[in-house]
């Protein structure tokens, strides 16, 4: 269960957003460029600090400036698939997925074994040895999804998971995402500029513009 009241300023953007996402629920944030969608995800992940407000996940406070509470991103139970994938170019698909596990102190072989399973679960088992440069957009997004899911997060953040794909890859990935989200026990927040994608994947949609919910 994610409960968040976000207040933060970043450049031109003034973000004022209340979110509540239950376990198993998928909230889609839809809006134009610059509406604050990615900024919201970065705040939830801990890459940005709130100016005011509060983020709590399963009752644990992650960010609350008024009380001086801030949990570093690496200590949050959050998995994120980034806009533009951001797969590490010097690592294979397998090592990209194993990265978060190794960062948490898991041994290399154990991390790779679990990464291999995670890749297989998103239909990317055959890509383990490839570098990101040798992956298509759809393949890269599958690897990025596996990299987020392998951490068994309580909160899954998906930033434009279907952007920059051709129609065929987009259809296939949309089905895959729907399957994965149906089986995911935690809360999910996904960001899209495409209302159809949001409708297909989310249980609930919020339209935001200029950092606020559009009524």
């Amino acid at each position: 269960m994610l409960e968040a009241r976000l207040e933060l300023s970043l450049g031109e953007l003034e973000l004022r957003l209340d979110l509540s996402v239950g376990a198993g629920e998928v909230l889609a944030l839809v809006g134009p460029n610059g509406a604050g969608k990615t900024t919201t995800l970065r705040a939830l992940a801990g890459a940005l600090r709130l100016d005011a407000g509060r983020i709590a996940l399963d009752g644990r406070v992650l960010d609350e400036p008024a009380r001086g509470t801030f949990v570093a991103p690496e200590a949050r139970a959050v998995g994120m698939a980034f806009q533009d994938r951001l797969l590490f170019p010097h690592l294979t698909a397998l090592d990209n997925v194993a990265f978060g596990l190794e960062a948490r102190g898991l041994g290399r072989l154990a991390a790779q074994a679990r990464a291999r399973e995670a890749l297989a679960r998103v239909g990317a088992g055959g890509l383990a040895g490839r570098r990101p440069a040798a992956l298509s957009g759809g393949q890269a997004q599958r690897v990025a999804l596996a990299r987020a899911l392998v951490l068994a997060p309580r909160l899954l953040l998906l930033d434009e998971p279907l952007a920059a794909l051709d129609t065929l890859a987009r259809e296939a990935l949309r089905d895959e995402l729907r399957r994965q989200l149906a089986g995911f026990a935690g809360a999910t927040v996904l960001v899209s500029h495409d209302a159809d994608d949001a409708k297909a994947l989310a249980t609930r949609t919020l339209h935001i513009e200029a950092g606020r919910v559009e009524s």
Binding site: R42, A45, G46, A47, A72, P73, E74, V78, M80, F82, D84, L86, F88, P89, H90, F99, G100, L101, E102, A103, R104, R147, L151
Partner: protein
């Protein structure tokens, strides 16, 4: 390809000749039959060994202290950053002999820090450690400049992604930032090493020219020119070969165009 106007062609050829003719002369006039004798001498072997030790030590010091400095300059916005960058790159344009004088005034027996170092039993001028220090002073900026450019080329979102995936800053540095910067670090280290190997002015000023202790290859060349020109030419050839090798190692970065 456009046709070159004659007005440009002549000075361009002069420029190429200016650099090319002396290098060709060095190769043509080298006492090839005498080469092994000249290089086998104690003086040459000592100078060569000392040069390798000093230049590799200077490169190692530059990596240990220069890479963190380059990262700070590239990634952290602190007051005085531009000033610090200018200061660190200054030795690239400063006459090396001035660097040597400055080192004496800082670490010499009566220098700014000389007293404190002396109390600890550390003496730097006219020692091998002093030669390493002089080479580091001159060569460090080459590494810092290359490494900073390398760090700047990395999309900072990769580091953010690493943190969100669970990497503490040290882990992200080791597993993401440094590997992505590795080509720039290698090029910087090669350039730094080549500069350290050829260092003359700061070394002779600060460390003197004691055979086996501070007389590196360039100093030995200069001194040998008077009493054993063949040895001087042979040692020069060694330095030329090393420089060409460094350039070849860097060719993809600099000569790729």
């Amino acid at each position: 390809m456009s046709r070159a106007p004659r007005l440009l062609l002549v000075p361009a050829l002069v420029a190429a000749g200016l650099i090319g003719v002396p290098l060709v002369a060095l190769v043509v006039r080298a006492p090839w039959p005498e080469l092994s004798r000249a290089l086998a001498g104690d003086e040459a072997r000592n100078a060569l060994g000392l040069s390798l030790v000093c230049s590799l030590s200077a490169t190692a010091l530059s990596l240990v202290f220069g890479v963190p400095l380059a990262w700070l300059l590239a990634r952290v916005d602190f007051p005085g950053r531009r000033l610090l960058r200018a200061l660190v790159t200054l030795p690239m344009v400063l006459p090396p002999v001035v660097g040597g004088v400055a080192l004496l005034l800082a670490f010499g027996r009566r220098g700014l820090l000389g007293g404190a170092l002396g109390a600890l039993g550390i003496q730097l001028p006219f020692t091998t450690a002093g030669a390493v220090l002089a080479e580091t002073f001159v060569a460090l900026p080459f590494l810092v400049v290359a490494a900073e450019a390398g760090f700047r080329q990395i999309d900072p979102r990769f580091e953010e992604a690493a943190a969100v995936l669970g990497a503490k800053p040290g882990f992200a540095l080791r597993r993401v930032t440094l590997p992505l910067a590795a080509p720039a670090l290698r090029a910087g280290a090669a350039l730094c090493w080549a500069r350290a190997l050829g260092e003359f002015g700061a070394t002779i000023t600060f460390a003197g020219s004691f055979p086996g202790r501070t007389q590196t290859l360039p100093l030995a060349v200069y001194l040998a020119l008077e009493h054993d020109p063949d040895a001087a030419i042979a040692l020069s050839l060694v330095l030329l070969v090393v420089s060409v090798a460094a350039l070849v190692a860097l060719r993809d970065r600099w000569l790729g165009a």
